[in-house]
């Protein structure tokens, strides 16, 4: 997993819950990196799972909620760092439809070894977009956070319904309907 996900996660924990909480979850976790993350490095996915689990214990909040919140936060980081991802893109559906062919391509240019989820996207009608999430990481909640923020970014009113198709969060269907 890319280092930026760790550095931005710990930044968010420090900002939201204070440096003591942030230090606690790192200290409690058994991390081979020792918790010294740099955005250009690459680290084991299991370290993120430990960090999130310990944070959930620390502040008594479910893991998926944490992932959702982090997704919403992470989108903003990306949007601030890479404004060219959004150049000439008029609305959320256009942006999301191009996720596989546009955003992920750009991501891979920056992080050639990034392991990205796959989205099967279909435009059901003028107001409905369906996105099916596939990932062995099973981070559908994180993805939902990213979706929420992207809709917010374009300032649109869009309802999202999700349906766990595989039952374990590996394959999840999101149906986005404009209000």
């Amino acid at each position: 997993m890319k280092g930026i996900v760790f550095t931005e996660f710990l930044d968010m924990v420090e900002r939201e819950f204070g440096i003591v909480v942030a230090d606690n979850i790192v200290t409690k976790s058994n991390l081979s990196s020792g918790g010294a993350y740099t955005s250009v490095g690459t680290y084991d996915h299991g370290e993120m799972v430990q960090l999130v689990t310990h944070l959930s214990d620390e502040i008594n909040t479910p893991v998926n909620t944490l992932l959702l919140v982090y997704g919403e936060y992470f989108f903003q980081v990306l949007a601030d760092s890479y404004p060219k991802f959004f150049a000439d893109i008029p609305d959320a559906f256009t942006f999301l439809s191009g996720i596989e062919n546009h955003i992920h391509v750009e991501v891979l240019k920056l992080y050639p070894d990034a392991e990205l989820p796959r989205f099967d996207i279909s435009r059901i009608d003028e107001n409905t977009l369906q996105m099916v999430y596939h990932s062995e990481r099973k981070l559908a909640a994180f993805a939902r956070g990213l979706l929420n923020s992207s809709i917010k970014h374009f300032g649109e009113q869009i309802e999202i319904e999700s349906k766990d198709i595989s039952g374990d969060g590996g394959i999840v269907q999101f149906t986005l309907v404009k209000a």
Binding site: I19, V20, A22, D23, N24, V26, G34, G35, A36, V40
Partner: protein, 794 residues
């Protein structure tokens, strides 16, 4: 406190993270450096490799800036164009294009730039540094970025040789095309189905059908003639089988006029050897065909005219010879009617003039036949020495009056008979000797016969006829063998004749495979040299018989002759001659009557005219030969009106035994009849029945005994007489003749008794000119003995 410790740890982790990121950065930076080095190496090796390829290429490769000015050019360019690479850099290729093409080249590449066509190919000529000209075939690629030309690259190949070869092919094509056009030949190319692919201008001129009229069509459809269409179709099949041929067809022009074409057709094959159609070269032969047609008409007219001439001559021959026959015949008969001396003289003149006339007609007919190529060469075995001796005797007799000797010099080495045309040789010598006699008034005429070289089965005989006559002027000597040409115009007037004799002689010598030459000196004489080939034989010469004239008539007495002749004057002539010989005869007016007569009565001989009404001589002869009685094998003498060689042949073919050409003398008739009768032993003696009655009465036994005694002794008696005659032993001749006189009377041969009596008388007077009589007797004996044998049933 807790927060401070956390901060301390976080800080520691941040420092660690920074170092980690620095390490990663260094690592990445090194990786980048190495990758860059690697790329540089790769690039340089690629450049090297491409440079090598570019330099080793046989084509000019160059790169230009956006306007085409040369930035790079390989070294082959120097070799092709003569300019160094330095001289070429910075220049535009159009500077080298030859003047005549610059406009086209600039227009072509301007268009490429305007339309932004990425790749083009164009061929043009350029001037080399040395002033030569090269053909280049150039591929130009435009390097385009964002719709703008940023550079050019080009590959130009030297195609001068290929262009020259193309030019050569083109020139050759032009050459052959021009040859065909100038030769006035129409060209037609058809596909495998016979449909026109192309045609030339001349074909259009010839037939009126333009290329546009013909393309995709079957050219034979313009030929309405069914036969011609069939020919073309069959030729097309031949083409498919790969064979060429030349043929002629009759067709129709577009305007309907007929046209004759000679077509030379040949198949065409592609590289793989598959038939792809054929090509036909057409020649208008309408004019030639027209001329040929006219020639054929002219030829047929000429042939008709020639035939008419021949028919005319045959008729003229008949028309002149028939009355002439009567004139000559009557002249002979008049001679036997005790004419006065004056009358005899007149008769001689008539006879002489008639004979000249006859000779002229014969000569004209002969030369016509010879010149028409109808004189046939008939080989027989004959005794040449006998022939020349007879000729010498004949002419010696004729020249008695003129006091010109006719001598014969005969080579003793000629000791066998030869094979050749006896008639030809006879005619040749007669003409040459006759000619010599005509122009010689004193001195001598000499006939020399020498045996020459022998080659294979042939022997050459050299015959020379030399006279001491007036000679021939050198100016005229070349003309004497030409028909109707005599030495000069006055010759005919002075000496008479048609001038055909020598021409006929020369023709006959040549037909016999020989040569004739002449040399002559005015007032000294003329000499003809002949060299004639004969085939050799082993047959000995015929023993010479005495040449004395014999009283033949008597021996023919009593034979029975059938005469078939429609002409009254000829009937009269024949009757007189036969009467004179005491020959019994029956005259019939035509062949049919003669045939009926022959069915009912047995004859010894037939005299057969050829041209008769109802049934002609040929038909009658054939019918007689099919009879069931003894006349089947009867000797038949044809009486022909013409001397034409082929008639002579024809009478023998239909089964006649000999022929007489009208007019003939009584002697000629008698000789011919005698030859056949003696040859067949048909002379019959009318045994003297009245004597038998007087001497033997009714006693047949006695008569038979007497006749048997005669037959027993007669051979021996005749042998004794022969010996005595040969020895001219007059005493013995007298004794034998005397002794046998009575025997002959008793045997009923009273007819021969006078001969014996004359011999006896001459011998008793010691005169030995009984040889002729003896010969006559001996000749008659075989048939006399035959008659006696018959009388007693033997």
């Amino acid at each position: 406190m807790e927060e401070q410790a956390a901060l301390k740890r976080i800080l520691e982790r941040e420092r660690k993270a920074r170092k980690e990121s620095e390490r990663i950065l260094e690592e990445k930076s090194l990786e980048l450096f190495e990758a860059n080095q690697e790329l540089k190496k790769l690039n340089s090796s690629l450049e090297n490799r491409y440079e090598k390829i570019v330099e080793q290429a046989n084509d000019i490769i160059y790169r230009g800036d956006k306007n085409g000015f040369c930035l790079f050019i390989n070294s082959i360019a120097s070799r092709i164009l003569g300019f160094s690479q330095q001289e070429l850099l910075g220049r535009h290729f159009t500077e080298m294009v030859t003047k005549d093409q610059i406009e086209n080249v600039v227009a072509f590449y301007t268009k490429q730039r305007e339309t932004l066509t990425e790749n083009t190919y164009f061929e043009f000529t350029v001037n080399t540094k040395s002033g030569g000209i090269k053909w280049l075939g150039q591929n130009v690629s435009l390097i385009i970025e964002d719709g703008e030309i940023i550079g050019t690259s080009a590959v130009a190949r030297d195609i001068t040789n290929q262009k020259q070869a193309d030019e050569q092919i083109k020139r050759n094509e032009e050459k052959f095309r021009s040859i065909i056009e100038n030769m006035e030949l129409g060209l037609l190319e058809v596909d495998t189905k016979g449909m026109v692919i192309s045609s030339n201008h001349r074909f259009a001129q010839m037939t009126g059908y333009s290329e546009a009229d013909l393309i995709g069509k079957d050219p034979s459809l313009l030929l309405t003639d069914v036969a011609s269409k069939k020919i073309i179709d069959s030729k097309n099949i031949e083409r498919k089988a790969g064979s060429s041929s030349v043929y002629e067809i009759k067709g129709k022009k577009k305007n309907g006029e007929p046209i004759w074409l000679m077509i030379s057709g040949a198949p065409r094959f592609d590289k793989g050897g598959d038939f792809i159609g054929s090509i036909g070269i057409h020649m208008d032969i309408t004019e030639q065909k027209r001329l040929l047609n006219q020639l054929e008409i002219a030829k047929s007219l000429a042939e008709e005219s020639s035939k008419a001439k021949e028919t005319f001559l045959a008729h003229m021959s008949h028309e002149i010879r028939t009355p002439l026959n009567s004139v000559l015949g009557m002249t002979h008969l008049l001679g036997d009617t005790n004419p006065t001396e004056e009358q005899k003289d007149y008769l001689e003149t008539i006879k002489y003039s008639s004979e000249i006339l006859l000779n002229i007609i014969s000569d004209i007919l002969d030369i016509s036949k010879i010149e028409a190529g109808e004189a046939e060469f008939n080989e027989t075995t004959f005794d040449l020495t006998e022939l020349v001796k007879a000729q010498q005797k004949t002419f010696a007799f004729r020249m008695q009056e003129k006091a010109v000797k006719v001598e014969l010099d005969l080579d003793e080495k000629i000791n066998t008979q030869v094979i050749g045309d006896k008639m030809f040789i006879n005619q040749i010598l007669m003409n040459l000797l006759g000619n010599a006699c005509k122009f010689t008034e004193k001195g001598q005429i000499k006939l020399s016969v020498l045996k020459g070289e022998e080659i294979n089965e042939n022997v050459f005989i050299h015959l020379t006829v030399e006279d001491t006559g007036i000679g021939i002027n050198k100016v005229h000597i070349d003309q004497i063998f030409e028909s109707f040409k005599q030495a000069d115009q006055t010759t005919g007037l002075t000496y008479g004749g048609t001038g055909l004799g020598l021409s006929i002689a020369k023709h006959l010598v040549e037909l016999h495979g020989g040569e004739i030459e002449v040399e002559s000196k005015i007032n000294v004489g003329t000499c003809f040299h002949l060299k004639i080939p004969f085939k050799k034989t082993d047959l000995p010469l015929i023993e010479n018989k005495p040449e004395e004239k014999r009283p033949i008539a008597k021996r023919l007495k009593g034979i029975n002759v059938l005469v078939a002749e429609d002409n009254l004057m000829n009937q009269k002539f024949l009757s007189k001659v036969l009467d004179k010989c005491q020959i019994k005869y029956t005259v019939c007016d035509n062949g049919e009557m003669a045939l009926k007569q022959a069915e009912n009565e047995i004859f010894d001989l037939v005299l057969m005219d050829i041209q008769m009404p109802i049934m002609n001589g040929y038909e009658t002869t054939k019918a007689i030969r099919k009879l069931s009685n003894a006349n089947k094998d009867i000797p038949i003498i044809a009486l022909t009106a013409s001397a034409l060689v082929d008639e002579r042949k024809k009478v023998l073919e239909v089964g006649m035994n000999d022929h007489l050409s009208k007019p003939f003398s009584p002697d000629q008739l008698r000789t011919a009849v005698e030859a056949l009768i003696l040859g067949t032993g048909k002379v019959k003696f009318q045994l003297d029945q009245s004597y038998f009655e007087e001497f033997y009465g009714d006693d047949d036994t006695f008569k038979n005994e007497m006749l048997q005694i005669f037959l027993k002794n007669i051979d021996d008696e005749m042998k004794q007489l022969k010996e005595a005659v040969v020895e001219s032993n007059n005493e013995k001749v007298y004794q034998v003749a005397h002794k046998n006189k009575s025997s002959f009377l008793m045997a009923g041969l009273g007819q021969l008794e006078p001969i014996l009596k004359q011999i006896e008388e001459l011998a008793s007077k010691n005169l030995n000119d009984y040889h002729n009589l003896a010969e006559e007797l001996f000749d008659s004996m075989p048939s006399a003995i035959e008659s006696v044998k018959k009388e007693i049933g033997l």
